[in-house]
Structures are given as C-alpha cells and as structure tokens.
C-alpha cells in the first residue's frame, strides 16, 4: 500500500488495517472450542467426582464444596509450579482459565515471576496483578446482585 500523504491518515490506516486483516492468520475457533470444552469439562467432572467423594466421606455439603475448591486450586498451583499448566492451557484456553484452576494459575505464576524481587515488594505486591481484576469485579458484581436481591425479593 503506497503511503499517500495527500490523503487523510485515517483512510490510509483503514486500508492498511484491511490489508493486515487479510494477511494475518485466524485462529481455528472450532478446534479451540472443542479443546476448551473437553478440558474445562474434565476439570468440572473431576470437581464433581471430588464432591461426591467428600460427601460420601461424611462432610456437610458446604464444607465438601470448599474442599473441592481447595483440591483443584492445589492441583492447578502444583502443575503451574512444575511448568505444566501453561502447556495444558495453550490448547485448552478458556477451558483451563475460566474454572478456579485459572485463578490459582494466575496467582502462582505471578508469585514465581516476582520471587526475584523479594517477598514483600515482589511476591506480596504483585501477587494479584492478574488475579486482582477478577476479584475486584467479582466483588462488584456480587455486591450489585445482592442489592438487586435486597430490592426485589
């Protein structure tokens, strides 16, 4: 595309953007969706199996649910530490990121990365860099939902 300085920059930017879109490869959405479904579904199935197990062992439902989260978080953190989680997520995408495993991964990965800057100013300060927004907006939505429930129950 010949840069023509007599034309407004906007037109040229648009033409170039079209050119870039034409050349750039597109992700295979179908393959990504299938991977995400299979891995995300497997994580959910493991969670369900754990829940059934804990209930069978006699834990009350609330505690059993919390234990499921604890175990899944531990597995995700452990796999992150071993350097395996990112290899799984490369294929699974949102399938690995959206469940609680993604949250654990985001914190552990950040902690490992910040370790060289010390425990307080490194790990402590940067632990929530990626997970933080999830917490912030999770809490905001919970607050709004609570407000709606309070007003319209």
């Amino acid at each position: 595309m010949r840069v023509d300085f007599t034309k407004p920059a906007g037109i040229q930017h648009k033409q170039y953007r079209n050119f870039v879109d034409r050349i750039s490869p597109k992700p295979n959405v179908l393959v990504n969706v299938v991977w995400a479904f299979l891995v995300g579904g497997s994580i959910a199935a493991i969670g369900q199996a754990l829940l059934t197990l804990f209930l069978m062992l006699g834990l009350p439902i609330l505690e059993a649910g919390a234990m499921v989260a604890v175990v899944l978080i531990f597995i995700a953190a452990f796999l992150t530490g071993l350097g395996v989680f990112d290899d799984i997520a490369r294929y699974a995408g949102a399938g690995a990121f959206v469940p609680i495993t993604g949250f654990a991964n985001a914190m552990v990965a950040q902690a490992m990365e910040a370790r060289t800057e010390g425990l307080v100013l490194g790990v402590g300060a940067r632990l929530f860099t990626i997970a933080g927004p999830v917490l912030v907006f999770g809490i905001v939505v919970a607050w709004l939902t609570g407000l709606i429930y309070f007003l319209f129950r």
Binding site: R2, A9, Y16, I23, P25, G81, A89, V108, I130
Partner: protein, 338 residues
C-alpha cells in the same frame, strides 16, 4: 547546504567504510534447535545461565557475546573506544550492567528490536567521523524477561495469538573498526517512526512493516540504487506476517524484491516444528542472525552486498493500555564484502 556525508534525505554514506572485524553470538536452546542452530558461536542450555534471575541471565548473555567477539578479534576491552548497547528491559538495564562489568565508555541505546542496526549505524558514524578506532555494538533479549516486561508471567496459562512472535533468547555483538579485514559498512539509512494505526501488541509485524518499507524505499531513492543492487534485503524481526505485509507494501511502491527479500525472524525458527507462530523477535533476533548467519554468508562469498534493516516496535508495557497505537521503526545498514 547539505551535510557532506549525507545523501538524499536520510542516508549516510561512509567515506572510510568501517570494517566489521568480528562478531559474537550467544543463544538459548530454542534458537540452537532452529534452522540456523549451527551458525551461532555459543549455545547456553540453561535459561538462567547459572544466575538467580532471568535479568541477570540476560546480562550474562550480553557479556558473553561481547567477550566472544573480543576474543575473535584478539582485542582486550581496553582497546575499545566505545560500547554501544541496548536491550528490552526497563531502562535497558542488561546493557548498563554489562557496561559496568566491561568498563568501556558506554552509550546506551534504545531502538527496541532495531537496536543492533541503530548501533551499527552510530558506531560507523563514530569511526568514520574519526572519533573512534574501534567500537563494540551489542544487544540482548531474553524470552522470559521480555514476556515479563511486556506480557504475562511465563507460567501463566494463556493462548498465544497466531500473529505473536517469539522473543529470541540470546545476544549478539559486533566489533566495528577503522582498519582490519572483514565486511564493511558503506551506508546507513536512519528510519522515521512510522505509525499506521496498528494497536495490537500481539502483532508487532503489522506495526513494523510500514516502517521497514518506508526505510527500504527511502534508502533506494536516496542512493539511486535498485533492488538488484543487493543480494539480499533482510529485515530484523517482522516475522511471517510482517514480511508478507512489507513485501506487499514494497510492491505497491514499485519495488519487487521477490526472492531477495527475507527476515531474520523468519530465518531463525521453524514455525511448524517450534510452535513460534509468527517467527522470532527481540533485539537478539536481528543481532544473532546478522552476526552469525549473514556475516558468515558474506565471508563465504555467497552474499556480496546486503541491506540489513533492523525493525522495532516502539511501545512500552502501558502505552497500548492507554489507547496508543504502536509506532514502528526501521534502520537500514549496507554491509558489503570487500
């Protein structure tokens, strides 16, 4: 009155072309496993290079590259007038720390991934201007420091975009001298920061291609040369997508480089085998390919004259979040067998 050693708008012509007397290249295992694996001087298997952090490792890579180049040229660091270096860390810290240990008068550079070519151009200016007898130009990049700096933690589970490139882990150094044997630097064309409105930090190739094209076209117009005057026109790290874009842009300007046009980021990895997506990038990408493969090809007589164009995406970690588009830069240097 036009400057005595300047031709056209942006091109410098060296009356006593500085000689590239030696180069040193150090890479990691991924680069060594690529198609150019055998052309590098040293391969370091450990991404930490025996250090505690990636940042320290990158500094070691840089120092190693300089030491290898000095050894090849049979020089000590005292015989070097200036050390020109840059990298991608905050405030180019890897270069600063390497400069501290080397003890050579230091000029820190930042031209993103175009830094090695910016350095060669400036080093040649210092030598041709009579201000230096020998200059070392060196750059480094490390995939883990760059990911940390610009993207996510390395263990973070994210899918890389197909347009994204892989930062080369390694460092390259070249020694420029007023006298000696080796290929010479005859011209340099200093690029403009060109922004075609690209804002995707996962597609540097698209951000840099117009700048590379602009510099190549400007170089050919300034010198009155045509594409056939060069055996190879090689860009720094446009990658597969950026190379295609630049090729298209150059064709629109009436320059069909066809087989003579390639890119260091395309050469360094095998995208099918190594899952690097768009190709290689980073300061070290153009440095280790130029300092290794390209100089070897010139020395072997397979290439007589090349136009190397270092390419850089001039963003920082925050500018895309603030809605800025990404300016690209391209600096061209003519390297000729003598």
């Amino acid at each position: 009155m036009p400057a005595a050693k300047k031709q056209g708008q942006q091109t410098l012509v060296f009356s006593n072309p500085p000689v590239i007397t030696a180069s040193g290249t150090v890479v990691g295992t991924k680069e060594a496993a690529g198609p150019l694996g055998k052309t590098f001087d040293r391969v370091v298997d450990d991404p930490y290079h025996g250090e505690k952090s990636w940042e320290r490792a990158e500094r070691r890579f840089l120092e190693d590259a300089v030491q290898i180049a000095l050894k090849k040229a049979n020089l000590s660091s005292r015989e070097i007038d200036f050390f020109l270096a840059g990298d991608l860390e905050n405030q180019t810290e890897a270069s600063a720390l390497a400069a501290r240990d080397l003890g050579i008068p230091y000029l820190g550079l930042y031209g993103a991934c175009a830094t090695i070519y910016e350095g060669i151009a400036l080093g040649a200016v210092l030598i041709d201007g009579g201000f230096a007898e020998r200059v070392v130009v060196a750059v480094s990049s490390h995939c883990c420091t760059a990911e940390k700096q610009f993207r996510y933690p390395t263990e973070q589970g994210v899918q890389r975009s197909l347009t994204q490139s892989w930062t080369v882990t390694g460092a390259g150094a070249v020694i420029l001298a007023a006298q000696g044997s080796g290929p010479v630097v005859t011209h340099a064309t200093i690029g403009k920061a060109i922004d075609m409105g690209q804002a995707d930090p996962n597609n540097f190739g698209a951000a840099m291609a117009p700048a590379a094209c602009d510099t190549i076209v400007r170089h050919l117009l300034d010198t009155g040369r045509g594409a056939t005057d060069y055996d190879l026109v090689v860009t720094g790290d446009l990658g597969l997508i950026g190379r295609d874009l630049a090729e298209g842009l150059l064709q629109d300007h009436g320059f069909d480089l066809a087989e003579r046009f390639t890119d260091c980021g395309v050469l360094i990895y095998d995208p099918q085998q190594q899952d690097t997506h768009a190709g290689g990038s980073g300061c070290a990408c153009s440095a280790v390919v130029t300092g290794g493969y390209l100089l070897q090809q010139i020395q072997a007589g397979k290439l007589k004259r090349i136009l190397g164009v270092g390419t850089g995406a001039l963003l920082n970690a925050d500018s895309p979040k603030q809605g800025e588009t990404i300016p690209g830069i391209g600096h061209a240097v003519v390297i000729e067998r003598r």
